[in-house]
């Protein structure tokens, strides 16, 4: 396990590359059928982004990374937390509402915002977990329902706490965070004034903790064991209900962080223009990234790159940006199939190898015997 196996590594790489190729192929086919300029689209999609755009791309990937990690925590345990979308919106709203009150000075307020966001996200996910543990309600159903409920609850509460808006504006939102609670980040790429979200640091920390907890702790072992086979886990003394509850709460807490880079580094309040739908992209990225901390980072960057290029595409080529959604959708479907194909392929290669080795062992004693 610990030694580096080149074949394993190559097989791991084969699946996403295969999926990307399939996505490109299918998309090209659609472009040909609709009579759109295939070459123009790809040359625009592959055009190197300008430093400002690249910075936005990284920022977007940071946000998506939190979302995908939240989903991946559930996936590792065979729990499908489809509710990251609702969890992050409720959490971002609560954090913005509390943060806007400026109860604590500067950096402490940021800590408070972080804690409120994590607690709210965990609480919202906890409802689904509680329903599953006590009533056996499938988390797929309950989290989807809770997404809708989140929309309603946030809308209702936002109308209650909405701050006085500037004259002539149609947006409503929570009170703006005090300047001392902004985390504007730092300039990472030369040639642009745009800053990378300060919370990129938190993303790296969360990624590391995710890897560490899942792979290097007793809790992570139990979690993976429960995900692989619940009955085996029970037999080895794992309290499955407690695992469901704690992994769902963890997933929700990470989901709570999704909106924070936007809140602290871009919008400074929660309003009608707050970005929606990030939870669903997280599911896709967790699948593409194979629930692996590094894989998810690459997946988030790829997803973000596609999103980014999609905005410019209709302006540069007159091809609708929906084509990028087709690329993303096909990629997700292809990646699931590709992983299964590659898994079976790997298994077959392994079997053949074992057979060969066994055959070699079988032959050897005979040879020795003959020489004796």
């Amino acid at each position: 396990m610990s030694r580096f196996e080149p074949r394993r590594f190559l097989l791991g790489l084969a699946a996403p590359v295969l999926a990307l190729l399939v996505a490109v192929l299918v998309t090209s086919l659609i472009l040909v059928i609709t009579g759109d300029p295939v070459a123009d689209v790809w040359s625009q999609m592959l055009k190197a982004p300008k430093p400002g755009q690249a910075t936005d791309m990284i920022n977007n990937a940071v946000v998506l990374y939190f979302s995908a990690i939240a989903v991946a925590i559930g996936f590792r345990m065979n729990l499908f937390n489809i509710g990251v979308d609702g969890q992050y919106r409720v959490a971002a709203f609560a954090a913005a509402a509390v943060g806007g009150q400026a109860l604590l000075p500067g950096p402490l307020n940021i800590v408070l915002i972080l804690l409120v966001a994590m607690a709210t996200g965990a609480l919202w996910a906890g409802i689904a977990a509680w329903l599953k543990v006590t009533r056996g309600v499938s988390e797929v159903i309950s989290t989807i329902m809770l997404n809708s409920i989140a929309t309603g609850v946030v809308a209702w509460l936002l109308a209650k706490v909405a701050a006085e808006q500037s004259a002539g504006s149609n947006d409503i939102g929570t009170k703006r965070l005090p300047d001392s609670s902004h985390l504007d980040g730092f300039v990472l790429l030369a040639g642009t004034q745009k800053k990378v979200y300060g919370l990129i640091v938190l993303a790296v920390v969360v990624g590391f903790l995710y890897w560490f907890v899942i792979n290097r702790t007793r809790f992570g072992y139990d979690l993976r064991a429960t995900g692989r086979s619940e009955s085996a886990a029970v037999a080895s003394g794992v309290n499955v209900k407690r695992m469901v509850l704690s992994s769902m709460l963890l997933s929700g807490a990470v989901a709570g962080m999704v909106g924070l880079p936007l809140l602290l580094g871009e919008n400074y309040n929660y309003g009608t223009d707050f970005q929606a739908g990030l939870g669903f992209s997280g599911i896709a990225i967790a699948l593409i990234g194979r629930n692996n901390a590094i894989g998810i980072a690459l997946g988030a960057l790829l997803w973000s790159y596609l999103d980014k290029q999609a905005v410019t595409l209709p302006i540069a080529t007159d091809v609708d940006d929906s084509i990028v959604k087709i690329i993303q959708g096909v990629m997700v479907l292809a990646v699931v199939i590709a992983y299964e194909v590659v898994r079976r392929l790997g298994k077959r290669i392994e079997q053949q190898q074992v057979t060969r080795e066994l055959a070699a062992q079988d032959r050897q004693p005979v040879a020795e015997g003959a020489s004796a």
Binding site: I82, D85, A159, D273, G277, D307, I315
Partner: protein, 353 residues
């Protein structure tokens, strides 16, 4: 095998989820502004539509009409792009910046969602002229920005008066798409106009959704439910300011039977709505976004562009009342004096109900 199956289920759910929420997307703006001043030849206009884009039979289409007129009469060339639901702030910025980068130096942003992005991109590209529709806040203010708004309350006042004159049950209704300050302007004018004519009139008001849920602008089922309720409670005329949900209001009027009417909004909906309901549309409160768009492009073309707020009111033809179908011809003599008084300023129409 079971593993593969569950993964496929997840992937499918996910694809559906993505489709349902119209994708998230986001991105950002190219910070480096290459605001190339003027093209030597024709004026190049970049249009950034709100969600729905050209073809929504309502708000965006009205803007598109203004652009089409500018194309044919002023010979401008144009590039059009539209917003996605729930997209990131940086996506809107990037859209505007990409238009600028492609050489489109006269930019029209349709809808208040662009307020902040227009403000930022306008600052980064001082040589480019911007217009934003429906926002007059400090967010979008700039030395190269014209903030275009409409006096929706004035047009709504007139259709409110028309409804009060036409009702047989002394009971009318209002259906707003999303409860925003903008839609409240419609409601405020409608209430004031109706009460001016008949102080004792009963008026029901319903909003389909609350912010930040903007689905009330695009959900005919919700529109029908709300209007059904008002018709059943005894109203016989319902005015909607609910964008795409208005189709449901028209269907409700049809289902309510004879002598039940609906009032359209933004465009002359007796011409643009589904043919089966056109005969039930008493009149429409027309908001001529096209006039605002065309005037802005023309002002850039002939060098008379002026930054700042500009409201298109009844007197500029920015808003008005449609007469298609002839259903309100008989009360024209009563509406005209009201119109004159609004234009002269002797009637001040409130903007909040």
């Amino acid at each position: 095998m079971r593993r593969a199956l569950t993964m496929t289920v997840v992937a499918t759910t996910l694809t559906l989820g993505l489709a349902a929420c119209g994708s998230d997307s986001d991105t950002g703006s190219g910070g480096s502004g290459t605001g190339t001043g003027k093209g030597g030849g024709a004026l190049k206009v970049g249009m950034a539509y709100d969600v729905g884009g050209r073809g929504d039979q309502s708000f965006n289409d009205s803007a598109a009409k203004g652009l089409d007129k500018a194309k044919s009469e002023l010979g401008v060339s144009a590039k059009e792009s539209e917003a996605n639901t729930g997209e990131a702030e940086s996506a809107r910025e990037q859209r505007l910046q990409s238009l600028v980068d492609s050489g489109y130096t006269t930019i029209v942003a349709i809808g208040f969602a662009y307020a902040k992005s227009v403000g930022k991109v306008a600052k980064a590209n001082p040589d480019v002229k911007f217009a934003i529709i429906d926002d007059a806040s400090d967010d979008s203010k700039g030395d190269n920005v014209e903030q275009i708004t409409f006096a929706e309350q004035e047009g709504s006042y007139l259709v409110g008066a028309a409804a009060a004159l036409k009702t047989k049950t002394n009971h009318i209704g209002f259906v707003g798409g999303v409860q925003t300050p903008l839609i409240k302007k419609f409601e405020a004018g409608y209430l004031a106009g109706a009460k001016k004519v008949k102080p004792s009139i009963k008026i029901d008001s319903t909003y389909l959704t609350q912010l930040p849920d903007v689905s009330g602008f695009a959900d005919p089922a919700k529109g029908k439910t709300a209007a059904d309720g008002q018709f059943q409670a005894g109203a016989d005329i319902v005015y909607h300011a609910a964008g795409g949900s208005g189709a449901g209001v028209f269907n409700a009027a049809k289902a309510a039977g004879a002598n039940h009417w609906a009032i359209g909004v933004d465009s002359d909906q007796a011409l643009t709505a589904d043919p089966s309901v056109r005969s039930l549309i008493l009149t429409s409160m027309v908001k001529n976004v096209n006039v605002g768009v065309y005037d802005f492009i023309k002002s850039v073309k002939d060098g008379s562009f002026k930054a700042g707020k500009r409201e298109f009111a009844l007197k500029d033809g920015g808003v008005g009342v449609a007469t298609t179908g002839g259903h309100i011809d008989d009360i024209k003599t009563k509406l005209d004096p009201l119109r004159e008084q609004i234009i002269s300023g002797s009637i001040k129409v409130p903007t909040t109900p």
